[in-house]
Symmetry: C2
Subunit: 246 residues, 2 copies
Amino acid sequence: MSRQRATVTVTADLVILTIRAGQLCVLTVERGNEPFVGLPALPGGFLRGDESLEETACRELAEESGLDATSLYLQQVGVYSAPDRDPRSPRVITCAYLAIAPNLPLPQAGSDARAARWTTVADARQEQLAFDHGRILADAVELARDQLQFRTLAPSFCRHEFTIAELREVYEVVWGVELDKPNFHRKVTESPEFIVPTGRKRSTGNGRPAALYRAGRAAELAPPMMRPRRPALQQARRPLTVKIRE
Amino acid sequence: MSRQRATVTVTADLVILTIRAGQLCVLTVERGNEPFVGLPALPGGFLRGDESLEETACRELAEESGLDATSLYLQQVGVYSAPDRDPRSPRVITCAYLAIAPNLPLPQAGSDARAARWTTVADARQEQLAFDHGRILADAVELARDQLQFRTLAPSFCRHEFTIAELREVYEVVWGVELDKPNFHRKVTESPEFIVPTGRKRSTGNGRPAALYRAGRAAELAPPMMRPRRPALQQARRPLTVKIRE
DNA sequence: GCAATAGTGTCTCTAAGACAGTATCAC
DNA sequence: GTGATACTGTCTTAGAGACACTATTGC
């Protein structure tokens, strides 16, 4: 048996990330069935006979979160196929998808909404998640961190029109760093086709109103948005110029 | 039926890349069974009941190419699950893996070696491949191209000890560009933990012998090896300094 | 006016690219 | 010596980062 072709069922699981109140958050659902009943899990569902896994992911995205997958960033993270990852038989393997959403309210009265809620990624990594969803979450967050450097997914975290401060918050929250405001502004406005000005402005009540932008057509960021290096590396260098006090 | 959980079988397919005679090559096998009998295909095989897909990939790698997967770069490319990708029933989905190999001779008398051969990627992309293997090949090559920038997979194309010229050839062949020899030399020797000198030299008969290196411990290239930009982008800029003819 | 946020100018430093020049081999 | 390949030095320039400075709002 084990030396033969295995017959399996396949699920698509979703890591839906957003930013709420300055925190990177992930959508979790409470499991209503065995196995792992009662534990938080990533939303997902079974592949049907007439669809691809991308279609499964989009369908589940709509059912579980009410979000429209066609307007969302959606990307495959990878397959998880360890033989003991799911106690059910026949065995279940899963394909994880990363989805990026703006901060939208969840439809709590949804058809399939079994206690869906936003959890901060920091909290979710402390908790015990069902199956290998802890590992999947870690991989997806790492993928998002990497992709922010080279691809134009940052605007996917924002609403249709956004300010440069909001875009900067995406990088700061996902990377857990602080970025220089003036340099970030210059960098993103000069990056070809990354963001395009709409001509409108938005006032937050305090200070000068910020210009509004939309996502541009570029898929890649060239040159990339460099993630600040670990201070460990800079520590190795000596300062070349020394300020002289008179 | 189609609205229910689908029962599927799963394969792991391998895109094994190497460089031979200055050309990027991929290992293909001629299909001996229906469907697509006689057409070239990527090597691969079915997931067994007691293994993960990574284990399937390693097993097939050993069987089809005689290469030892433990010493090879192996990475998931993605899942291909379109309902009509395989005419068999129950349906078959596949997970593709990218493997990088040095230029080694293939064991032609292998147990499972059904007409395995190296094909240039350029040729393979012209031919009709079985299933959706043309698409898989394209995705894997694109992944390899991207990863060369940020990860230390280039030495995987070389034998255990290699010269900097051999390492440079990897980049030039995979990217299809020419790189400046002096600048490349400086870049890779100064990149921390990318390559380490062995102290030995190798003479090619012509010219000064080259120092030999091994792969270092780093997994990431920091700063990245930047891929030369399209000339199209530079065309958009005006030269800021103009040479004056007297 | 002041506080607050948005955005610009400018300097410094790193690192990439161009390319001249030097080193070490076979013959 | 010549020819070939390996490697180093140096100049130029693009781009990242630091940070002073200006602009535009609410009050």
